[in-house]
Symmetry: C2
Subunit: 484 residues, 2 copies
């Protein structure tokens, strides 16, 4: 301790080899206090970064039997009932009447030939004309029933699913269960073209798939919850319980859009039941991933490698999100208000849903005069719209966005907890969110491979079934080799 | 210049009165370069702040005759035609059929008793029941025609307006023209209760108003543009030209919501024609105002005074905006897509519009079981919805948000250019955006007064006509004293 000298201490001239001052106790104290405060603040910041961003939290304990249906029906119903999709005469008659009224009503012409103000009126006119004059309800409903549909009650909700067993195979071809999970505003309709590809044995592969494709709770044929809280990880639990109920203990998963988030949650919460996870929306939704991409903007090529020009410049990407994610903003805050109009107007619903398919398949469709419509089978797009329309389920599907915001903390925690499940990502050319491999590995340390497709967009399972089926076979072949 | 010494220069021990070193030319050069670069950067930053945020730009030169209608009708039509609001039998019949279909359709029940997921189903049920069973089309259309309506063509668009002359007055009561400007999703319906208060002479005031209330272009009875670009300052020009056309050279303005923005633009672009500007949405929309409020969060009471708890904490306010401004986000990006459903579903449109009135009148209405509906005259709310419905104009009204974003730079420039017009602000208790006086004065240096009302919300002209009328009389009395 330096000698006390409260009085008469004068600064001596500093000499070359360093300052030498006499210091008072008060000075020591004040410096110590400042130091301690700074250290405490630094520690606080460190703790915040650790706890809120970096640390891997423990897996929350989930109640696997939350009841989402009305309380007065709290009876376990063990039946698994066959189901048929019906496009009823009365619904068709109702649509005809609505279309008549729409034809007589004032229709708004777009201000230019692009879809910059929303779906172009010419594109909408083509959809309307097809729906009104060319869409064949009888044929399409026959087509929609080509696979076996079922309903069964899980946690109080009637859950719809398709189950498609493969063609009879020779002895040395294994049948592997594959859970297909659709997103928003999609439905099981997205899987109609890929299912035959997955259920048909192919040379060079000693396995084939049995497909189970449920409708998410609140989406089309599956009932929605009667109380708040049915967010993605609760859907993951419902889907896993559905698989238990139909006797499939272990399975592979392929997911897209929200279906990928739900598949990822199943892989995280029930890793022993998931043999492999394939996704064509490979993203890590943790804060750490977002912050890394944000600060990575300083060295884009270092951060993102070949993906640099799909992720950066940040400003362009930010503007793109601002421009395209208005629907997400409204659905996350006022789903019920928006739903009233969408559920009452078939064309309004069609425009709202089909716009997403057009814009997220290829951003250039926004400035194309035809909006990209010609690259799609219009009847297929309308099938999907009709699935929401005939079940009056758009509002319950929109609510998922609100639930995700309401339960953001847990959703984000789950995004930080790595899963040991073997994973394979399929990156399409035009997908909305793209992330480099090293960020995906934080969530999926067992990332067996990534395929970079130079075609396709966000709804690739629907748009590019051949490419996606090929990739699923490839991924599962790798999964099986690894686990042997 | 210090002597050159490239070789053998050694640092001497520093002495007490200051360092004394020998310095090489290279060191001088490098320090100079760094200094110059730093100065240049600082200057750049200063220029950026000056030019983009602080400086008052010159008033842009506007073409006052932009043609917004179809090119093939480019003929000046000088007529001013009387107009009658008609709620036609065929429209009523169409609504009855739509309501029938709606009654038979699956309706979605809210997950709880609040409006947290959007408008509550019980509240919507009440609106629907009133519209279907109690709303009297005959009586209401008689009521809507109680004032004189006109249409006239301005810049290619048929513009609707009401013109209400005061009761005959004694000689010493002057009649002052007052332009009333509505906002979104409002219409001239908002002014029905305040008009008699403004056109009736009152004791202690030697003036009374003649009211001119136009429908904004693209809103209800006024035609929308056929090409992009009709943003708020272009509307300001159209409204000013309308006033010219009907022979009113100088006038007072009262504006609300977007109508206030447009009124402010008229006062900025045509200051000599505006005798005084009264607004119950007193805001400065410049970047400087927003940045000041942002950094002012460090000293909230110093920045905002009595308004501190309405503006801060910033985090709460930000979350509130995030929660409530989803509609704004979607309308600013995809107005046409959203419009298709709203224009096809009367209930959807009603819910979308009335929700704004409920939530922006009092934020607590969100958690009230009745949503605040009982504080409104339901028929009046439905009148307003019907004005949009019967004119199929919701889409063209939504487009204004897109145009505002597309023309943000000029809009922001105008927000920075002060107007000499005498101004008076009315701050209601629950208005969405609140700003302290000193920030308002940047835009309105001639701010004669501010009234702080302890009732009312964003649509005060409709909700609190007595208080607003009192304030307009008070403000104009001050304006007149000042200009004497």
């Amino acid at each position: 301790m330096p000698p006390k000298k409260n009085e008469g201490s004068k600064k001596k001239p500093a000499v070359s080899e360093g300052d030498h001052e006499e210091i008072t106790v008060a000075e020591i104290l004040s410096k110590t206090i400042v130091g301690v405060i700074l250290l405490a603040l630094l520690y606080q910041f460190y703790v915040y970064i650790q706890v809120s961003i970096v640390a891997v939290p423990a897996l929350p304990k989930f109640d696997l039997n939350v009841w989402w249906g009305p309380n007065n029906t709290k009876v376990q119903d063990s039946s698994i009932r066959p189901y048929r999709i019906v496009l009823s005469d009365s619904m068709q008659e109702n649509l005809r009447r609505k279309f008549e009224a729409y034809r007589r009503a004032t229709r708004i012409k777009s201000l230019n030939e692009t879809s910059e103000y929303g779906i172009n009126s010419e594109v909408l006119g083509q959809i309307f004309a097809h729906w009104q004059f060319k869409y064949n309800y009888r044929e399409q409903s026959k087509y929609l029933n080509k696979y076996s549909h079922f309903k069964t009650n899980v946690q109080g909700l009637d859950i719809h699913f398709m189950r498609v067993t493969p063609q009879p195979t020779t002895e040395n071809v294994k049948v592997l269960p594959l859970l297909l999970l659709h997103g928003w505003p999609s439905s099981v309709r997205d899987f109609y073209d890929i299912i035959p590809l997955l259920t048909t044995p192919r040379s060079g592969h000693d396995f084939v798939f049995e497909v189970i494709a449920p409708s998410l709770p609140g989406f089309t044929y599956s009932q929605g919850a009667v109380r708040p809280g049915l967010t993605t990880y609760q859907m993951a639990i419902i889907i896993r319980n559905l698989m238990e109920k139909i006797g499939v203990k272990q399975f592979f998963i392929h997911g897209e859009d929200i279906g990928s988030t739900i598949g990822s949650h199943i892989a995280t919460i029930f890793p022993k039941q998931v043999l492999g996870f394939h996704t064509n929306t490979p993203v890590n939704l943790s804060k750490l991933a977002q912050l890394t991409l944000f600060f990575g903007a300083i060295f884009p090529t270092y951060t993102a490698g070949d993906l640099a020009d799909k992720i950066y410049p940040l400003n362009d990407k930010f503007n793109y999100f601002l421009e395209e994610f208005g629907y997400l903003h409204l659905q996350s805050t006022k789903p019920d208000t928006l739903g009233i109009a969408l559920q009452d107007s078939p064309l309004g619903l069609g425009a709202y849903i089909i716009e997403k398919y057009l814009l997220f398949t290829n951003p250039n469709n926004k400035i194309n005069q035809d909006g990209g419509l010609s690259t799609f089978d219009k009847s297929a797009l309308i099938d999907n719209v009709l699935m929401y329309w005939s079940t009056a389920s758009i509002t319950t599907s929109l609510r998922l966005y609100k639930e995700s915001i309401n339960n953001y903390d847990t959703e984000e925690s789950l995004a930080r907890i790595p899963t040991i499940v073997p994973t394979w990502g399929l990156r399409t050319k035009y997908d909305v969110i793209q992330q480099p491999d090293f960020i995906l590995r934080w969530k999926y340390p067992n990332l067996i491979g990534i395929t970079n497709l130079d075609v396709g967009g966000h709804y690739a399972t629907f748009e590019k079934p051949n490419e996606v089926a090929d990739d699923i076979f490839k991924a599962v072949k790798h999964f099986l080799t690894k686990t042997k």
